[in-house]
C-alpha cells in the first residue's frame, strides 16, 4: 500500500512538473548543462533538471598528468593519441572534418591532414562497409555514425560482414582494427530518432564487442582499448554526458580493459547493474536506499556489454542475493534480460528475490513523454524497495 502511494506520489510529482513544463525548485540540485545549447557554443544556458547528476570519479594519478575534460574532449584526446601513435589510423564519418556535430573530432583534421580525417557522404551502410574494407587490409579504421539511431542501415554490414569475417575465413582475414563510434542514449529532448540505445541488437551477434563508458576518464581508456582490440568494436557514447560530464582525464594514452565490469561501490544487500548514463542514476538510488532504508548497495558498471563480465556480476549476487539491472532501452529483449537469465542460472540458490529489471517501456522512444519513459531514480528506488521487502 505504501509502495503504491509512494509510486503514485512519484508519478504525480512528475506529472505536476511536466504540466508546468518546468523542472526547477527542489530538484535544482541536479541542474546540468545540456549538449549544444541553442545559444551556440559557450552560451551559459542552463537546461532543465536532467534525470541524473553526473558524479565524477576521484582523479586517477597512475597515468601521469591530468587535465579537466568533458566527455567529448576526452574522446578527442583518445582519437588524437590514436592518430599520433598509429600511422594507419583514419577517422571518417558525416561531418567529422569540421569537428563533428558533437565536437568529438575538433582540430584533428588540421593536425593530421585531410587524408586521415575526412567526411563521407550520408550513407551509413557505405561508411561501415568501407570501414570493414580498410580494416581488412590491416589499417585502423575509426568510423563515426552520427547518431546510434542511424546505425540500422549499417546493421547488415556489422552483423553479416564485420562480425563474421574472421570466423568464415578461418582466421585468414579479419576486420579487427575497425571501431565504430556513435552517440547513444536519451538526451532530454531527442525523441524517436536521437535517443535510442541499440546495444541489445548487437549483443545478439557473436563476433563484435559493444562498449559503453559512463564518464570522460572511462571513455578515453575504453575507446583506446577498442581501437587497439583485435576485434571489431562498437563504442556507444552517452550524448547527454558530452558536456555534462567533466572530470580530470590523463593527457597521455592509457587503456581500460574490455569485458571487465567495475564495482564502483561495494555493498552487501543489493547489487545494482547499469551502464552509461544510467550508472549515475543508480548511484543516486544507492544513496537514497542507504538513507531511507538502511540498505547497502553494490554498484556495478558493466562497461562492456558483450562479451560481458559474468564473473563480477555473479560474484556480487552470490554476496548480496538481490539484483537490479537498469537501462533506457525497452524492457523486452533488452540486455537486462540476458544478464537476468544468466544470473538465475548461475546463482539460483543465492537469490533472495526475483531479479528486477527497470527499463524503458516497450514503445518507441517518445517525444513529449520522455520524462515518464526513462527509468529514473524513483522507478529504480521503487523496484529496489519491492526486492528488499520480498
Amino acid at each position: 500500500m505504501a509502495a503504491v502511494a509512494s509510486r503514485t506520489a512519484g508519478l504525480l510529482r512528475l506529472r505536476a512538473a511536466g504540466a508546468e513544463r518546468r523542472w526547477c525548485g527542489p530538484r535544482c540540485a541536479g541542474l546540468v548543462q545540456g549538449f549544444l545549447p541553442p545559444g551556440g557554443e559557450g552560451a551559459a544556458q542552463k537546461r532543465r533538471v536532467a534525470h541524473f547528476t553526473f558524479q565524477p570519479d576521484p582523479e586517477s594519478l597512475q597515468y601521469g598528468q591530468t587535465q579537466k575534460m568533458n566527455l567529448f574532449q576526452s574522446i578527442t584526446s583518445a582519437l588524437d593519441n590514436s592518430l599520433a601513435k598509429d600511422p594507419t589510423a583514419v577517422i571518417f564519418g558525416e561531418d567529422v572534418a569540421f569537428g563533428g556535430v558533437f565536437r568529438c573530432t575538433v582540430g584533428l583534421r588540421d593536425k593530421y591532414g585531410k587524408d586521415r580525417v575526412f567526411n563521407t557522404p550520408l550513407c551509413e551502410q557505405g561508411i561501415v562497409g568501407f570501414g570493414i574494407g580498410i580494416a581488412v587490409t590491416g589499417a585502423t579504421a575509426i568510423a563515426e555514425i552520427q547518431f546510434a539511431d542511424y546505425i540500422f542501415p549499417a546493421f547488415d554490414q556489422i552483423v553479416n560482414e564485420a562480425a563474421k569475417y574472421r570466423y568464415r575465413s578461418g582466421d585468414l582475414f579479419n576486420c579487427g582494427s575497425l571501431t565504430i563510434r556513435a552517440p547513444w542514449g536519451c538526451v532530454g529532448h531527442g525523441a524517436l530518432y536521437h535517443s535510442q540505445s541499440p546495444e541489445a541488437f548487437f549483443a545478439h551477434c557473436p563476433g563484435i564487442k559493444v562498449v559503453i563508458p559512463r564518464s570522460p576518464f572511462q571513455a578515453k581508456g575504453l575507446l583506446l582499448s577498442c581501437i587497439e582490440d583485435k576485434n571489431p568494436c562498437i563504442f556507444f557514447e552517452p550524448k547527454i554526458l558530452y558536456r555534462a560530464a567533466v572530470e580530470q582525464v590523463p593527457v597521455e594514452p592509457y587503456k581500460i580493459p574490455l569485458s571487465q565490469a567495475e564495482v564502483i561501490q561495494e555493498g552487501s544487500d543489493v547489487t545494482l547493474v547499469a551502464w552509461g548514463t544510467q550508472v549515475h542514476v543508480i548511484r543516486e538510488v544507492a544513496s537514497m536506499a542507504r538513507e531511507k532504508l538502511g540498505v547497502s548497495c553494490e554498484i556495478i558498471d558493466l562497461r562492456t556489454i558483450v562479451p560481458w563480465d559474468v564473473d563480477t556480476v555473479c560474484k556480487s549476487v552470490v554476496k548480496t542475493g538481490r539484483l537490479l539491472i537498469s537501462h533506457e532501452a525497452p524492457l523486452t529483449g533488452g540486455f537486462a534480460s540476458e544478464i537476468s537469465s544468466t544470473v538465475q542460472e548461475e546463482c539460483f540458490l543465492n537469490l533472495e528475490a526475483p531479479i528486477s529489471r527497470v527499463c524503458g517501456y516497450d514503445t518507441p522512444f517518445p517525444h513529449i513523454f520522455e520524462p515518464f519513459y526513462i527509468p529514473d531514480k524513483w522507478k529504480c528506488y521503487d523496484a529496489l524497495r519491492k526486492m528488499i521487502n520480498y
Binding site: 508519478l11 506529472r15 511536466g18 504540466a19 549544444l36 541553442p38 551556440g40 558525416e94 561531418d95 572534418a97 569540421f98 556535430v101 575526412f118 567526411n119 557522404p121 550520408l122 550513407c123 551502410q125 557505405g126 539511431d149 542511424y150 540500422f152 542501415p153 532530454g188 529532448h189 531527442g190 525523441a191 524517436l192 530518432y193 536521437h194 517501456y361 516497450d362 514503445t363 518507441p364 517518445p366 517525444h367 513529449i368 513523454f369 515518464f372 519513459y373
Partner: protein, 376 residues
C-alpha cells in the same frame, strides 16, 4: 482602353494612402487580370521536351500562393522564436527560404495525389491541409497536434501525406511503394517523393530508383537541392556528380529553379503528367535555399557566410519574386498584400497561443498505438 485607364488610376494613387472606397474601385478596375510570366527553362536529362517556359498566373493564384508562402514563412519564424523560448524542444528543422518548393509542388498536383518527404516538412504539412495550430501544437507536443503530440517536428501526417520522416532517405523507398499502390489500385494518382541532397547518397535511394523504373511506378522523385548537407557544404567531397536530376541514370529528369514558385509549379505539373501517362518515374531537382541552419543546433554560418545568406534573401527570396512578377506587370495591389500579411500574422499568433496553452497528451498515450489489436 481598360488597361490605359487602369494604369492611369494606378499611377495617380500609387504612394498615396488610399481610402477604403477607392480601394474597392481599384480592385475591380485593375487587379482582376491574369499575368503571363516567363519562367526559366529547365535543364533536361533524357527528355525530348520539358515544362513550358511561360505560364499564366491568375490573380487568385497569385494571392493564394502569396498567402501560403507568407504563412509558411511566418510559421517557421514563429517556430524559431518558440524554440528559443523553450516551448519547442528537441530537433526542429525549418524550411524558411524554401516556401516556393512546398507551395509550388502542391500547386502542380491534385489533392488526391500523395506526398512523402523528409524531416524538413512543415511547409508541406501546411500545403497538404494541416492547420497551423495543429503543426505548432505538434511541435510543442500537445494533444491538439496533428500526431497527438507524439511525433514532434519530424513526424507530421495528413491525408495523402505520409510525413515527415526522421531517417535520411528512408522515405524514398516508401514513396516508391505508395506509387506502386496507386498503379495497383488502378487510380491515376501519383506519389511525389521529396528528399534533400544529402539523401541522394543513401543506398536505399538508388534501390528506389531501380524499383520505380523496373515497374514503371508513377513516382515523381523530387530532390530539394539546398547545396548543403547538414553541416557541410556540398562539394566534390560528398559526391562526384552533383546533378541530382541525372542521378537516376536510366530515369529522365529535369532541374528547375526552386526559388521561383511558377517554375516549381510547371515542372511539377509536367512531372505529374508524365507519371500519370504510365511512362514511369521521373526526377525533379529543385535548386532552393534554406535561410536557417540544418536544425536549431546549427547556426548555419560555419559552412557559408552571412553575406551569402543575405544575398539570397535580397535577390532570390521566393515571396519577393512572386510579388515582383505582379508588380512588373502592374498587377499588384499593396493593400491586398498587406491584408494577407495581417491575416496571416493573426493566424500564426492564434496558433502559437493554442500551441502553448493546449494540454499535453494524457499519460496513457505513452503506450498507445505501438501495436493494435484491431481486426481488419
Amino acid at each position: 482602353m481598360r488597361k490605359m485607364l487602369a494604369s492611369l488610376v494606378s499611377h495617380v494613387f500609387s504612394g498615396v494612402n488610399q481610402k477604403p472606397a477607392m480601394r474597392g474601385l481599384l480592385a475591380s478596375l485593375n487587379f482582376s487580370n491574369d499575368t503571363t510570366c516567363d519562367i526559366t527553362k529547365c535543364d533536361l536529362y533524357r527528355l525530348e521536351e520539358g515544362p513550358p517556359t511561360s505560364t499564366v498566373l491568375t490573380r487568385e493564384e497569385a494571392l493564394k500562393y502569396y498567402r501560403a508562402m507568407q504563412v509558411i514563412r511566418r510559421m517557421e519564424l514563429k517556430a524559431d522564436q518558440m524554440y528559443k523560448q523553450k516551448f519547442i524542444r528537441g530537433f526542429c528543422h525549418l524550411c524558411d527560404g524554401q516556401e516556393a518548393c512546398s507551395v509550388g509542388l502542391e500547386a502542380g498536383i491534385r489533392p488526391s495525389d500523395h506526398i512523402i518527404t523528409s524531416y524538413r516538412a512543415h511547409g508541406l504539412c501546411y500545403t497538404r491541409g494541416l492547420p497551423v495550430r495543429s503543426i505548432l501544437a505538434e511541435l510543442t507536443g500537445r494533444r491538439g497536434g496533428c500526431a497527438k503530440g507524439k511525433g514532434g517536428s519530424m513526424h507530421m501526417y495528413a491525408k495523402n501525406f505520409y510525413g515527415g520522416n526522421g531517417i535520411v532517405g528512408a522515405q524514398v523507398p516508401l514513396g516508391a511503394g505508395v506509387a506502386f499502390a496507386c498503379t495497383y489500385l488502378g487510380n491515376t494518382e501519383i506519389c511525389l517523393t521529396v528528399y534533400g541532397d544529402g539523401a541522394a547518397n543513401q543506398g536505399q535511394v538508388a534501390e528506389a530508383y531501380n524499383l520505380s523504373a523496373l515497374w514503371k511506378l508513377p513516382c515523381s522523385l523530387s530532390s530539394e537541392r539546398i547545396a548543403t548537407t547538414q553541416w557541410a557544404r556540398l562539394s566534390r567531397e560528398q559526391q562526384p556528380n552533383t546533378d541530382y536530376h541525372k542521378r537516376g541514370n536510366f530515369i529522365p529528369g529535369r532541374k528547375a529553379n526552386g526559388m521561383d514558385i511558377l517554375c516549381v509549379r510547371e515542372a511539377t505539373k509536367f512531372a505529374a503528367h508524365y507519371c500519370r501517362s504510365g511512362k514511369g518515374p521521373i526526377l525533379l531537382e529543385l535548386q532552393t535555399y534554406r535561410y536557417h541552419g540544418h536544425s536549431k543546433s546549427d547556426p548555419g554560418i560555419s559552412y557559408r557566410t552571412r553575406e551569402e545568406v543575405q544575398s539570397m534573401r535580397s535577390k532570390s527570396d521566393p515571396i519577393m519574386l512572386l510579388q515582383e512578377r505582379r508588380r512588373n506587370s502592374n498587377r499588384s495591389n499593396v493593400e491586398e498584400w498587406k491584408e494577407i500579411d495581417a491575416d496571416g500574422k493573426k493566424e500564426i499568433e492564434e496558433a502559437a497561443q493554442f500551441a502553448t496553452t493546449d494540454p499535453e497528451p494524457a499519460l496513457e498515450e505513452l503506450a498507445n498505438y505501438s501495436c493494435t489489436t484491431k481486426k481488419k
